[in-house]
């Protein structure tokens, strides 16, 4: 992927993550089921949260490094 596409992907990941946590999408998980004893909406919210953390970790490694030169040089030194 190109630099622009990765940045766009990161934007969409964030926006869709936010949308999935808001009504009406979050209401889809609102029914009286239980997973290992835990209500299904609780599982949904925490699972989505975990997905966002994982996604953020992937993006944190993939997004381009565009720090100003002095900071970048400091990392290159042993």
């Amino acid at each position: 992927m190109t630099r622009r596409k990765i940045i766009a992907a990161s934007l969409f990941f964030t926006v869709f993550g936010a949308l999935a946590l808001m009504p009406p999408l979050v209401l889809l998980a609102r029914f009286d089921g239980r997973v290992l004893g835990v209500p299904v909406e609780t599982v949904y919210v925490f699972a989505l949260w975990l997905v966002m953390v994982a996604g953020a970790r992937w993006f944190s490694r993939t997004l381009p490094d565009d720090r100003p030169p002095p900071q970048r040089q400091r990392d290159m030194q042993p």
Binding site: P23, V53, S60
Partner: protein, 907 residues
């Protein structure tokens, strides 16, 4: 181990001592290689988790017990902001590094033309908005000590005779001393506090471990998740989030997302204390992960507390009271320290951040105004003044927090108090977003917008929190001020359907944003605002050289004096020496270049804020304002030139398009002209042939007097025949041109097209016999009603059939006439078995006077107007006449007309 109040207090004091040691060591080693850990992204992340205060540690459990899943919104909002770090946080960090921003007030003041008024406004409002939040921490620490005291068999120990208020005051005083010792030991160049950050990071680990420990204990005591939830459901608790995902869910998520940017302490740790942008990269997932870990056990702890504790116990304290009730004194002490950690870290950082704002935006400007020329003083004065101002503001901030606690002590839940603060600081969000993304946002609009948002907040969110302690406020809430119903704090303008939090968030942010946008549209920016806006917006674009707003003459001595006053002698010396070294001259002969003045301003801004640094330097650098206006004027002129040239470009593009159109029209005209010439020469040619014959025969008749009667009659007959031909030719030409101009009017009516076809066949019968042509009129339909003029339609059929007969050169010529109805169309085909139309001539057979290479050869050919006239007629009848390609032998013409429906006629 027996847990007593004395033991708890002793542990807390010892813990504070440990923190102090960590902070001391952190400061000491921050510059050395051993301090590398202090600058690691994980310490940075842990320091950001100062976001999780005792609101999280105690309040989230209470919130989960009262409102179910709702508490997670407070952590999901920041998660979204951090996952999208690239778009807002990265920008903030880069701008703040570039501009040496020291606080959120400094950020807004800097973007909006280094406005001191905006800085003061934001500072004051932040101090007011944070008071409830500080009160929350005081309340949490007090309640936790009370909880231990209440369960201890040894009574209140050293707290004998202290009530809740006294205890809170004691906690506030202790916190004030602690924070002063911690945070105001020196004025740092970039307002970075490595020691404090190290201590905060340690506290972050302690509170997470404590909460997880209590969570694991609860799961163990309850016998697993399944058993825990089943027992809660059996006890009649609502474990399902029935009404959670409503307007309140959205409102608190928006608030939390705003708070992680706007809270002064979060801005301090995330932006100001950031030493490397790549740390933000790590924090983008690590901080959400931290909050996830913090939230994981909240629901189990709340449900276990609700099922096992006796009714009426405070759910906010479950984290502490559950281990206490189980006799786990060690765990309870750990939980207490965890809660204590979360409260102290918040109070320390929040009051440091606020005190920086107060000293930089209120105290230093006042001091600058009062002491216009104490240039002789040694720099220690300013620094001491700043430190004292900060100490004083820390005391003031904690006093305000205590005051709020005192006034609202009757309300019991923790989380709603925090949300009041969140709504207050969220009023900065529109201005911050405008600062980052909107070039035209103006200072006056920002000031008005923040003020309006804040007034709404005061009225609809802050004021109602006193309802439980003040009957006056309760009266206003119920009836509105002076009985004005539409001003009721929680139903502004009659909006009663929203729940109070969502109501306050909605109105305050809506009006705030509206004022900001409309205000910016109608007001104009000053020169400095213009420049700062460009600096903020173009932060990621490489610029050639720093644009220096300050230019003009200043002596090095003057500059040095200013620098020494703020930075101290040693650092000022170092700065000037570096500059002299870079310029390659002795420090005594150093020339103050605009770039150096700019650098100096940024250095000063790191200590006393942008607006104050600007004011201080403006005093010694003359010629500042003039150059600014000039620069702006030049920029405006350039802008105008650019706009003009763009307008010119647009006009010339339009001209080009017009010219092309004209050329096209011209070409068409020439073609028409050519066609006309061709037509005229064709007509002349056609007319000339019979005319020549007529002339020749009439000359013979005139000159040869002795012609016999037989020959004479023959000649006259020829003349007659030729004039008939001439007349019919002229008739055809007139007919065609009239048709083309649409002058021939006839009445179309429903007729039977088959009858017309029969009539045409009858007319052509004689010609067919004469040529020996066989006509096969089948297959045919019985009848077909079309809308047409019968004579005209007949003319078309006669023309086609007679053409087919005349141009048929086959040995036994056959002409086939077929008709059919397909769908709603009536189709007639006239085909012959002659030589057909050669491929290359097919496109021209409908041209006027075109007779084809075969037609030219035969004497029977007409003027070549039959087909054009027929096609014109059929087109006028809304049908089509076409040559049917693909037949192997002979030519085939097809007439297609729409079948007339009586129903359509009725309309």
């Amino acid at each position: 181990m027996t847990l007593t109040v004395d033991l708890v207090i002793a542990t807390a004091v010892a813990y504070v001592g440990l923190l102090f040691l960590v902070a001391y060591l952190g400061d000491r080693y921050s510059g050395s290689t051993e301090g590398g850990l202090l600058r690691s992204p994980f310490v940075y992340t842990l320091s950001i988790s100062v976001y999780c205060t005792s609101w999280t540690f105690y309040g989230a459990v209470g919130s989960a017990a009262r409102n179910g899943l709702e508490f997670v919104t407070i952590y999901l909002g920041p998660t979204i902001v951090f996952v999208g770090w690239w778009f807002i946080l990265r920008r903030l960090v880069r701008i703040s590094h570039d501009q040496r921003i020291t606080s959120i007030a400094d950020l807004l003041s800097s973007r909006f033309g280094k406005s001191s008024r905006l800085g003061v406004l934001v500072t004051l409002l932040a101090v007011i908005a944070i008071a409830p939040y500080i009160a929350l921490q005081l309340k949490a620490v007090t309640s936790s000590i009370e909880a231990v005291a209440g369960s201890s068999e040894f009574g209140r120990g050293a707290l004998e005779g202290w009530d809740e208020v006294g205890l809170a005051l004691g906690v506030a005083a202790a916190m004030a001393i602690f924070t002063i010792l911690f945070g105001t030991r020196n004025v740092d160049a970039k307002e970075q506090h490595h020691g404090v950050v190290a201590a905060i990071a340690l506290e972050a680990i302690v509170k997470l471990t404590a909460l997880v420990a209590v969570g694991v204990f609860v799961l163990y005591a309850a016998g697993g998740l399944d058993a825990l939830f089943t027992r809660a459901a059996d006890a009649g608790l609502r474990i399902h989030a029935t009404e959670t995902f409503g307007d309140r869910w959205v409102a608190s998520m928006v608030l939390a997302a705003a708070a992680i940017i706007c809270l002064p302490r979060q801005f301090q740790v995330t932006v100001v204390e950031n030493s490397d942008e790549s740390h933000l990269r790590t924090a983008s997932w690590a901080f959400p992960a931290y909050m996830l870990a913090m939230s994981l056990f909240i629901v189990p702890i709340a449900l276990h507390g609700l099922t096992t504790m006796k009714p009426g116990s405070n759910p906010d304290m479950f984290t502490l009271t559950l281990p206490l009730a189980a006799g786990q004194d060690g765990l309870a002490l750990f939980a207490f320290i965890g809660g204590f950690s979360s409260a102290t870290s918040m109070i320390i950082l929040e009051s440091i951040a606020l005190s920086i704002m107060v000293s930089n935006h209120i105290v230093v400007p006042i001091m600058l105004r009062l002491s216009s020329d104490d240039r002789g003083s040694d720099g220690l004065g300013v620094r001491r003044l700043i430190l004292n101002a900060r100490r004083l503001s820390i005391v003031l901030i904690l006093l305000l927090g205590f005051g709020y606690f005192y006034l609202t002590r009757a309300s019991d839940a923790l989380a709603p108090i925090g949300l009041i603060s969140f709504t207050g600081v969220a009023q900065f969000l529109p201005a911050i977003l405008a600062a980052l993304f909107w070039r035209d946002a103006s200072t006056r609009a920002a000031i008005a917008a923040i003020s309006v948002g804040f007034l709404i907040w005061l009225w609809s969110s802050f004021l109602p929190s006193f309802a439980s302690s003040s009957p006056v406020v309760a009266g206003i809430m119920a009836q509105g001020p002076f009985g004005i119903e539409w001003l009721r704090p929680q139903a502004l303008f009659g909006l009663e359907r929203l729940e109070p939090l969502a109501h306050a968030v909605f109105w305050s942010l809506l009006l705030n944003t509206t004022v900001l946008i409309v205000g910016s549209l109608v007001s104009t920016q000053s020169a400095l605002e213009h420049i700062q806006a460009a600096l903020f917006l173009n932060v990621f674009r490489p610029v050639a050289g720093d644009p220096s707003p300050l230019r003009g003459s200043a002596t090095v001595d003057d500059l040095f004096l200013v620098a020494r006053r703020v930075l101290g002698h040693e650092r000022a010396m170092r700065l000037f020496a570096e500059e002299a070294k870079a310029a390659g001259m002795a420090s005594t002969s150093l020339e103050p270049t605009p770039a150096f003045i700019h650098r100096l301003e940024r250095e000063l801004a790191g200590s006393i804020g942008t607006a104050s640094a600007h004011v201080m330097l403006s005093k010694v650098v003359s010629g500042d304002a003039v150059s600014l206006e000039e620069v702006m004027q030049m920029a405006d002129e350039t802008q105008q030139v650019i706009e003009h040239s763009q307008a010119l470009e647009r006009t010339s593009a339009q001209l080009r398009a017009t010219a092309e159109k004209l050329e096209f029209a011209n070409r068409q005209l020439r073609e028409v002209d050519l066609q006309k010439d061709e037509f005229l020469s064709q007509v002349s040619h056609e007319v000339r042939t019979p005319m020549t014959a007529i002339r020749a025969f009439s000359e013979i008749l005139l000159n040869e007097g002795d012609l016999d009667g037989e020959s004479g009659r023959k000649f006259v007959a020829t003349i007659h025949k030729e004039s008939l031909r001439l007349t019919s030719l002229l008739d055809e030409i007139l007919d065609l041109s009239a048709l083309e101009r649409g002058e021939r009017v006839w009445e179309s009516r429903p007729i039977d097209a088959e009858a017309s076809l029969d009539q045409a066949l009858r007319v052509c019968d004689a010609l067919a016999r004469q040529n020996g042509t066989q006509i096969r009129p089948h297959p045919r339909v019985a009848a077909a009603t079309v809308l047409a003029d019968p004579d005209r339609l007949g003319q078309v059929f006669i023309n086609l059939i007679s053409n087919a007969i005349k141009h048929n050169s086959a040995a036994s010529p056959v002409v086939t006439v077929r008709s059919r109805i397909s769908g709603e169309r009536y189709v007639v085909e006239v085909a012959d078995n002659g030589a057909g139309v050669p491929e290359q001539e097919r496109s021209r057979i409908f041209d006027k006077f075109y007779r084809g290479s075969l037609g030219e050869a035969t004497s029977k050919a007409g003027a070549g107007l039959g087909l054009p006239i027929s096609r014109e007629i059929v087109t006028r009848l809304n049908g089509s006449l076409e040559f049917v390609p693909g037949t192997s032998e002979g030519a085939c013409f097809r007439v297609t007309l729409a079948v007339h429906k009586p129903a359509a006629e009725a309309v």
